[in-house]
């Protein structure tokens, strides 16, 4: 460590076009999804994605708490994205900070865009996402886990929601950033795709991108989502082929 604040920026992209962990620009980190990882929940899934470890559970449709949120014509989707205190290098204060609350809101809205909520009036579908180990892209890992958990719970949906972040690393648009790339990168664009319609139900962005760069980022992200979609479907097939919690499967 040098003087305070003068951190060394690592080489993020080799002259051969390889990234810090040897990946190419359009390559995902290894992704493992286990559907049905918990006993108590109505549906659950565990995701290991690069160095991210994320658990998701679904309860419901069940009674709405607090009651005044109840809607007479449809179910509400309440998502809670939470990071464990030990999930990051420096201990995080437990509980939902403002970042987690914002992420919870956009994830709830993403799922409410695909769930057939009108089939369960006056109920709540509660989606809990716990980040146990974080290494960039936790909201995307959370959405992937939650969406498999929703399917595991038998909640009717238009489609699963694959999700990935695209960023800009050493001037190049790159798929699925890991922590070092995110920290020193120039932009971050998390998204979640409805594969059937090709539309995005979650989209955020921070950094600096020109309009053509953003178009390229969307294209790369959509392609990444389609590959993640296959892994998600395989996890569900594995779960229901045996009838009990399946062994973790490698990325498709």
């Amino acid at each position: 460590m040098g003087s305070i604040g003068a951190k060394e920026v690592p080489v993020l992209l080799s002259p051969e076009g390889r990234r810090i962990d040897g990946r190419r620009l359009d390559e995902l980190r290894p992704l493992k999804i286990t559907a049905g990882a918990l006993h108590e929940a109505d549906g659950s899934a565990y995701v290991e994605w690069g160095a991210n470890k994320v658990m998701a559970a679904v309860y419901g449709p069940r009674e709405v708490h607090p009651r005044h949120l109840q809607q007479n014509n449809k179910a509400i989707v309440q998502c809670r994205y939470n990071m464990a205190a030990f999930s990051v290098d420096e201990r995080k204060r437990p509980g939902l900070d403002r970042r987690s609350q914002e992420i919870s809101k956009v994830i709830s809205e993403a799922f409410e865009s695909v769930i057939f909520a009108e089939e369960y009036p006056r109920t709540s579908i509660d989606v809990y996402i716990e980040v146990l180990q974080a290494n960039a892209g936790t909201r995307c890992a959370g959405i992937v886990a939650a969406s498999v958990a929703l399917a595991d719970a038998g909640i009717p949906m238009v489609d699963l929601l694959p999700s990935v972040a695209v960023g800009k690393v050493a001037g190049e648009i790159a798929l699925d950033l890991k922590k070092e790339e995110d920290n020193y990168g120039e932009a971050d664009v998390p998204m979640a795709l409805v594969p059937q319609s090709g539309r995005l139900v979650l989209l955020q962005m921070e950094g600096h991108l020109t309009a053509p760069e953003l178009a390229r980022a969307l294209e790369l992200g959509v392609r990444g989502c389609r590959s993640i979609y296959e892994t998600m479907k395989q996890a569900l097939r594995d779960r229901y082929a045996t009838g009990e919690a399946a062994e973790p499967q490698g990325a498709a």
Binding site: I4, G5, N72, N73, R98, R99, Q101, E102, S104, K105, V106, E109, E112, S113, V189, V194, S197, G198, R199, L200, V201, L202, L203, Q204, M205, E206, G207, H208, L209, T210, A211, L214, A215, L218, E219, V222
Partner: protein
């Protein structure tokens, strides 16, 4: 229940109009309501601005106080953005801890200010690791008739571009000096109404919307922040089209925020 039925009828009507490119208040799909930014609205603040977009009214006050830099950024000042959706601004807001909707407004505005490097935070450092300026950007929504995000960032930008660093008051320098603003981000918010995507949604249009998309751009033509909100979806082509529209609106919004003629 009658409220719900009335809302349903209104939503259907808004979507019907949108199908032929029309809107409830007669605007075109790419028209903003009238925008005004009035800097210096609050004299007790170090910088302030009152922004109206149509009847949406937002006031932003900037305060600078000496503080301590964060351990991981010892050479930079601190910037915090907070938005309050106080109950007086809408019958739908209740008192209590910040609603996720308020948190979203502040975080989306904060993201644009930070990503665009509106303020060079290293210039707010007084003594590395010991003393710096903490810049509080507090946004108060007074009248919520739609499109809070755009109004909030315009107010913040108006307040920051006219802010004074109170160096004399805190004995840090002999005289106060103007806060240096490096870049000028503005946000443009769009909602989907059926197959039509309209800019600057009114409150009723937000209720009827099938997805909302906010794009922040800077004066160099970069996209610096985005947020998709509400229930609904956008295709990548929709997003690219919205970005183009946001870049075009951006130039005019920036001029208004800086206080020159619209």
């Amino acid at each position: 229940m009658t409220d719900e039925v009335a809302a349903e009828i209104l939503t259907t009507h808004i979507l019907d109009l949108a199908r032929s490119g029309r809107r409830l208040d007669g605007r075109g799909t790419n028209d903003y309501r009238e925008i005004k930014v009035e800097p210096g609205f609050v004299v007790t603040a170090d910088g302030s601005a009152l922004t109206t977009i149509g009847t949406t009214k937002v006031v932003c006050g900037v305060k600078l106080e000496p503080g301590k830099p964060f351990p991981d950024t010892p050479n930079a000042g601190v910037l915090t953005t907070n938005a309050e959706l106080v109950p007086l601004s809408s019958p739908t807001f209740e008192p209590g801890p910040p609603h996720p909707r308020a948190i979203e407004v502040s975080r989306v505005v904060d993201r644009a200010i930070r990503a665009a490097e509106t303020i060079d935070l290293t210039r707010l450092c007084v003594t590395p690791a010991e003393k710096c300026w903490t810049c509080f950007v507090d946004i108060h929504v007074l009248d919520h008739t739609g499109n809070l995000i755009d109004a909030a960032l315009l107010a913040a930008l108006g307040a920051l571009t006219h802010a004074t660093v109170p160096a004399k008051r805190f004995g840090i320098r002999d005289a106060d000096y103007p806060l240096e603003v490096k870049h000028l981000p503005v946000e443009c918010t769009f909602v989907r109404l059926g197959d039509t995507i309209v800019v600057d949604p009114s409150f009723d249009e937000e209720q009827a919307a099938q997805g909302r998309l906010t794009v922040a751009t800077d004066e160099l033509g970069n996209v610096v922040a985005m947020q998709k909100g509400l229930i609904g979806a956008f295709s990548p082509e929709d997003v690219n089209q919205v970005v183009e529209r946001a870049l075009r609106h951006g130039e005019r919004l920036r001029r208004i925020a800086q206080g020159s003629a619209p």
